[in-house]
């Protein structure tokens, strides 16, 4: 009886993450806003702790991968007392439409918000055609 109880307890308390994953927390999927204008698609992502040079954006076969390094570190000479969050890097992937000009993607960060501007390819930008009376 005792043995089975022990076993069930062990199963219950089994960590949901592998030990190595706890040392280096899994990347967080950042919340994003995406909107479209006539000329481009703009993406905003919440990435607290990420500096401008900590952002890496790669485009491969229509897939955009966003990786952002979290530069937050523990205040020196302090011990943690209470923790609600564990700083982790950010990672998220998106599928791009053919209409994006991948050569001109531009990204910047401000106050922990990443802004990625994805300009549309020239042929994808709607043009106004004036109809003249013949």
């Amino acid at each position: 009886m005792n043995t089975s109880l022990m076993q069930s307890e062990r199963t219950q308390s089994e960590p949901t993450r592998a030990p190595e994953a706890q040392e280096r927390p899994r990347p967080i999927v950042p919340a994003v806003d995406i909107y479209e204008t006539d000329a481009s698609v703009v993406m905003l992502a919440d990435v607290p702790g990420v500096a401008q040079d900590g952002v890496e954006i790669t485009v491969d076969r229509g897939t955009l991968t966003l990786r952002a390094h979290n530069g937050q570190s523990a205040p020196q000479g302090f011990q943690p007392v209470y923790q609600e969050y564990v700083p982790a890097d950010f990672e998220r992937q998106f599928t791009l439409s053919d209409s994006i000009d991948t050569e001109r993607i531009f990204a910047s960060t401000k106050d922990g918000v990443l802004r990625v501007e994805l300009p549309k390819a020239r042929q994808a930008v709607p043009r106004k055609i004036t109809v003249t009376r013949g």
Binding site: I28, V29, Y35, L44, V81, Y85
Partner: protein
């Protein structure tokens, strides 16, 4: 039979994993009340306490910090200002307002408080009240 609903069909770890996956899926948008989406960490040593708060996109001018005894209150607001003529493809962030109140491990001196914001992370450093600091009592031989 209704108690079957609450039966042990899900173990704690399964539930935790499911919630964890849900959280990862929504990222930081696993947000019920606005306060839950503004997580903070508290750090301390014998002389001071430091509080870090994740506040992405929050205008530093909208932030307010107040200290009463050993109670700290932090608040702020995020406003979204985007051009009117846009087509939204995805909206997970949005505008919000938060206010967090926490009890610090000891009384702090409001005069000795410093706050700075970097890359959307607010760090507040608070100095312990002098009279509240631990003192070493020398033991004298009688």
């Amino acid at each position: 039979m209704f108690y079957d609903v609450f039966g042990p069909s899900w173990s704690t770890s399964e539930m935790e994993r499911a919630l964890d996956d849900l959280g990862r899926w929504y990222g930081r948008s696993r947000r019920g009340p606005a306060d839950a989406m503004t997580p903070l960490n508290v750090w301390a040593n014998e002389e001071a306490v430091a509080v870090t708060v994740e506040v992405p996109g929050i205008d530093p001018d909208s932030m307010s910090i107040s200290i009463v005894g050993d109670t700290l209150t932090v608040g702020g607001k995020r406003i979204t200002r985007e051009a009117q003529k846009v087509t939204w493809l995805r909206q997970e962030r949005g505008a919000y307002e938060f206010s967090r109140t926490i009890q610090l491990p000891f009384r702090v001196d409001p005069e000795g408080t410093e706050a700075r914001i970097k890359d959307g992370v607010l760090t507040i450093a608070l100095r312990r009240v002098e009279s509240d600091k631990p003192r070493k009592i020398a033991v004298k031989a009688a």
